[in-house]
């Protein structure tokens, strides 16, 4: 497999403030790598540096086996073969769909340019909107135009900055599938940055979690979700709850001083069968599809556990429920 993009020991500072350090990852052709982290952690800065919009950084960026950016090298933006999809799409409001897509094709002869634009309009299923102004399009259509405009000049690397943040939930699911298909078909090396965990898990081949200026874990979505390296990663990817000590003792699970035992909320089962671990209900919240129930053991009311239950409306604060947990669902991770 060709390595489309390689980022090695990348770091960047603005003034005296270090934003990122020691960031390394590879993206193969046809692969989607997502950089996941909270807003303001510097995810977009990595994209901007790969595109050439930020110059001064540590480490090196290699596209198609050519170093495009390092301490001593800076390959101009137009030579990098990278396409950037901005969070607001950056479509030019005074140009129509056709003109936006053809914007970067000014070097081609007119007939060739028209043919290429038509090809993209058909490929992206927006041919009937070609004469429309940008404000006449829906969010999903605008995104298609933005991607078509970038694909027009055949980049090998696609940089996507929070591409779904302007779409509603339904359109988000639909567009995600479509985008994944396009990236695979065109064998692009795609990097997507987002702060949305579900989005990252569903679209990516690999995920890099950024925390405290570094990538704390890099791997496939399944690896990261099932074997989080620390509590931050575990918490970031889904709702987890600390397992009460009494439950660990009952299940014969031992932890070292540096470790903490956690369980995903969805892996807990609460029943009324009395042979399981008894816990008292501290609070009940109705959440539509399910109830969130906060429980504690009789011996230690500070050690709480959050669980989800479906279809129960008879839950009362102070009542006792019985917890059934499979020991292999308990994750022991670094504190």
């Amino acid at each position: 497999m060709t390595c489309g993009l390689s980022v090695n020991k990348f770091g960047i500072s603005f003034g005296d403030t270090q934003i990122l350090k020691d960031i390394s990852f590879d993206v193969q052709a046809g692969e989607i790598v997502t950089l996941l982290g909270p807003s303001g952690c510097g995810k977009s800065t990595i994209l901007r540096s790969i595109a050439g919009l930020e110059r001064d950084h540590e480490g090196e960026i290699v596209i198609n086996d050519q170093c495009v950016s390092s301490k001593s090298t800076y390959l101009n933006i137009d030579k990098r073969k990278s396409g950037y999809i901005f969070q607001d799409y950056a479509l030019f409001p005074h140009l129509n769909v056709e003109e936006n897509i053809g914007f970067a094709l000014f070097k081609l002869p007119k007939a060739q340019k028209q043919a290429r634009v038509l090809e993209l309009l058909e490929q992206f299923d927006i041919v009937r909107h070609k004469k429309k102004q940008i404000h006449e399009l829906s969010g999903g259509q605008q995104q298609r135009v933005a991607i078509a405009r970038v694909i027009a000049y055949n980049p090998s690397v696609l940089l996507l900055d929070e591409p779904f943040s302007n779409l509603d939930t339904f359109l988000r699911k639909k567009t995600k599938m479509w985008l994944k298909k396009i990236i695979k078909e065109l064998r692009l090396s795609a990097i997507l940055v987002t702060h949305d965990q579900k989005e990252a898990l569903s679209i990516s081949d690999k995920i890099g979690i950024i925390h405290n200026k570094e990538i704390v874990q890099f791997g496939t979505p399944e690896e990261i979700f099932n074997h989080p390296k620390n509590l931050y990663v575990a918490n970031f990817l889904g709702d987890v709850s600390k397992v009460p000590t009494c439950l660990l003792e009952k299940l014969n699970v031992t932890t070292s001083e540096k470790q903490i035992a956690i369980i995903r909320i969805n892996d807990t089962h609460v029943t009324e069968e009395k042979n399981n671990m008894p816990l008292t209900i501290l609070d009940v919240s109705y959440c539509g599809d399910y109830y969130e129930v906060l429980l504690c053991s009789d011996s230690d009311d500070q050690n709480t556990l959050l669980v989800r239950m479906q279809g129960t409306s008879t839950l009362k604060i102070g009542a006792t429920l019985y917890l059934d947990v499979l020991p292999d669902k308990i994750m022991l991770i670094d504190k």
């Binding site: 595109a51 933006i77 950037y84 901005f86 607001d88 950056a90 030019f92 005074h94 914007f103 000049y153």
Partner: protein, 484 residues
């Protein structure tokens, strides 16, 4: 100064409050009509009022004839006084307070007023307990702008015989021929102006306009009926009538009886000269401002940004002070050139820059660059920076990006900048008077000269052209803004 501040606040705030909070007959009309006094230069309104209300004025004579009295038989209050100047200036300058307060009230007060209503406060209580305190920074900022205009004025105070710094500069410069004293006066005036700028900026810090984005909530206007409706119409009609309608009607009447006498071949030369210098300067100033602001945006160049910020200060400096400064600097330059040529070539090349059209244009650029820069800054701020980045990553060069992205997107800002600079230049009086070459007149200068010769009625002809161009420009600007 205090008189103008007090009157502009009274008129500007009252009308802004009424048109923002209440719905009444013609409220839509007054929304725009109350800005119209801006279309007539202060000095023209002053000349017209003098022609109407001084001892031999048309209105005075009409009233005396009506009651069969003579001027000596009544207690006559002369408009040609400091009080008269204050009234005239306030009638023209109140839109500063009106516009700033209205914008502020519209953006800022909806939720606060609604909250006050739900607490059961009466209209009067809402006015003095809520609206007045929260509008204070906007009112003060508007009043300071009006005062700055009043302090910089030459035409009104000169004609009404009121001594100010600006008339002092003219008297010492032209009357006594003392460049040094004129410069000292200019320096003192500048200290005062900078104090006002500082105060204005300080006040504006407290004005945080909400964006008209998704959280913008319009004020729910209260509908007025009966006597309250009539009172609102009356209050809004007064400043519109005295600030625009009355002087405009009088000017039209005087124009109709004197245009044949004034409009000759020389008058067309005068119009040509005015248009030539206004259009030429406005094009030049707009182009330079675009270069400045574009450079700041693309290169994030601090030096260019600092130059642009300093250039913006020019608008706060009175025209007379700028003219004195330029003339002093240019005369040093010319003298050095003359000295050089006389020493080495025994030849006197004469004035190179001083007393030329170039000096006038330079003066306009210093004074009005801020208007064009402000327009472009606001225009650029509406273009997301991702457009710049998108063009770069789409591998499109800078020239092409400018031609295909920025130029079309800045069309309205360019038009607005050009028109606003153009109007200001057409109206400008003291700077043109000091810097113009011999025999180079503009409509504003001719208006002033005619009034100096006591030909108030005749002065309405060049005035009419200035006002006509002003109104046309305001209309074009409004049309352009509605396209946005």
């Amino acid at each position: 100064m205090f008189g103008v501040a007090l009157m502009t606040i009274t008129i500007g705030f009252t009308t802004a409050y009424i048109t923002t909070m209440y719905k009444f007959t013609f409220s839509g009309f007054f929304h725009y009509a109350l800005i119209l006094p801006f279309a007539i230069p202060t000095y023209i309104v002053a000349f017209i009022y003098a022609g109407m209300f001084d001892m031999t004025g048309s209105v005075t004579t009409f009233i005396l004839d009506l009651f069969g009295k003579k001027i000596s038989e009544i207690e006559f209050y002369d408009i040609m006084s400091i009080e008269g100047a204050i009234i005239v200036m306030s009638l023209v300058l109140y839109p500063y307070v009106y516009l700033i307060t209205k914008t502020y009230l519209k953006a800022e007060s909806a939720s606060v007023i609604d909250a006050a209503k739900t607490m059961g406060l009466s209209s009067w209580q809402i006015f003095y307990k809520v609206v007045l305190p929260i509008s204070r920074p906007a009112i003060v900022a508007g009043a300071i702008l009006a005062v700055m205009e009043a302090v910089s004025d030459f035409g009104v105070v000169d004609y009404y015989g009121v001594s100010t710094f600006v008339t002092g500069i003219f008297r010492t410069w032209f009357g006594m021929g003392s460049v040094e004293d004129a410069s000292k006066l200019a320096a003192m005036l500048m200290t005062f102006i900078f104090l006002l700028i500082f105060l204005e900026r300080f006040q504006r810090r407290n004005i945080k306009y909400k964006s008209s984005g998704k959280d913008f909530k319009p004020i729910s206007k209260i509908e007025l009926k009966g006597s309250k409706n009539a009172l609102a119409i009356f209050i809004c009609f007064l400043p519109f009538f005295f600030g625009f309608l009355l002087p405009f009607i009088q000017m039209c009447f005087w124009f109709s009886i004197s245009y044949e006498e004034i409009i000759d071949e020389d008058f067309f030369t005068l119009i040509n000269q005015t248009l030539f210098i206004s259009v030429g300067s406005a094009v030049l100033i707009t182009a330079i401002a675009l270069l400045f602001v574009y450079n700041v945006r693309r290169r994030k160049n601090k030096t260019t940004d600092n130059i642009a910020q300093v250039a913006k200060l020019g608008y706060s400096i009175p025209g007379a002070v700028i003219a004195v400064g330029i003339l002093t600097a240019f005369s040093y330059f010319d003298n050095a050139i003359i000295y050089f040529f006389e020493t080495y070539f025994s030849f006197n090349p004469g004035l190179i820059v001083g007393g030329t059209v170039a000096a006038v244009i330079f003066g306009y650029a210093v004074r009005f660059m801020a208007i064009a820069i402000n327009n472009y800054e606001s225009g650029f701020s509406n273009i997301p920076t991702t457009y710049d980045d998108a063009a770069k990553t789409l591998q499109v060069g800078e020239k092409r990006t400018f031609k295909t992205i920025f130029a079309p997107l800045l069309k309205n800002a360019t038009f607005a900048a050009f028109i606003m600079v153009f109007i200001e230049i057409i109206k400008e009086l003291p700077l043109t008077m000091i810097l113009r070459p011999f025999n180079f007149d503009t409509l504003a200068v001719r208006t002033y000269e005619l009034t100096q010769q006591g030909q108030i009625v005749e002065s309405s002809v060049p005035s009419m052209f200035i006002v006509f161009l002003g109104i046309m420009s305001v209309l074009l600007l409004a049309k352009n803004m509605s396209k946005d």
